[in-house]
């Protein structure tokens, strides 16, 4: 049975959540979760920290695919601009790692994990814990990143089922 590894990324200018999951059929296995916490007040070096943190996880855990959260559409253009730069750094590390990149909105992720787009952060944490058979619920940023990876795996499974039923029909 095919095994695939997915790195989920929840980008942020202060904290970028990262989570690696291995999927073998219906079985999901937690490989790694953590986050990059940026330090300092200057944006440039913080972007460098995000880039290196993501590149390091790609290098170490060798995911087949990367699943990145479409960031929250802030009403504030200034914060969207900062968040955009952080997401750009994470996305570039993925592109430079020559990985296929998929993007999912927070709504799609919550729907895939909890079954409703209106799920709270705590519900996402609890469902991620359950789906991966973890002892404890992961911290929110890591849980969101793991959720983003699980969302991609579900999505691929659904696409495979659709394509299988098409070829039977």
């Amino acid at each position: 049975m095919a095994v695939s590894r997915v790195l989920g990324i929840d980008p942020g200018s202060r904290v970028t959540g990262l989570g690696v999951i291995e999927a073998k059929g219906q079985t999901l296995r937690h490989i790694y979760s953590g986050c990059v916490r940026t330090t300092g007040s200057e944006l440039g070096p913080r972007l460098g920290q995000i880039y290196r943190g993501v590149a390091h996880v790609i290098e170490k855990y060798k995911p087949d695919t990367i699943s990145i959260e479409q960031v929250f559409m802030s009403k504030n253009a200034q914060s969207a601009l900062v968040l955009g730069q952080a997401r750009g750094a994470a996305l570039l590390a993925a592109i430079h790692g020559q990985k296929a990149v998929s993007e999912y909105s927070a709504l799609e992720i919550k729907n895939a994990i909890v079954g409703t787009g209106r799920a709270t952060k705590e519900q996402v944490q609890q469902m991620v814990k359950m789906l991966l058979g973890l002892h404890d619920a992961p911290p929110t940023d890591a849980a969101d990143a793991l959720g983003c990876a699980i969302c991609h795996i579900h999505n691929q499974q659904i696409l495979r089922r659709i394509s299988a039923s098409d070829s039977v029909a």
Copy 2:
């Protein structure tokens, strides 16, 4: 007399302007100007194109410093997010090139080049042409990037004069 090379960058998700200027005392010399035009609809590969374009110019023209425009504060959070990602890609290439990075607002650049923050794009183009002794006015994106580099050079000259008068006093 000390010679310094400055790369100015005017970031954008579709067109990123680039301009390299050499300063020797009061004399400015145009070394290079051009732009990175991104192609395709997917943001990830476009960020890769911006990163590679900026990295290529850094590698080829070996600037001492990089001067990057603080991007326009759009009222639209969605476009600020896209622009932020493009700026993040340009900034990362500068950081990875291990160059000192300075940032200037459009207002500061217009003030430095034309003498008024309310200058039009055409006025910036004409003044950049004059200051660099060019035959033709450069296209707007390149002119903005060259303007950003000139703004940094002016700024450094003012700082040096202040520090010289301090040491005399």
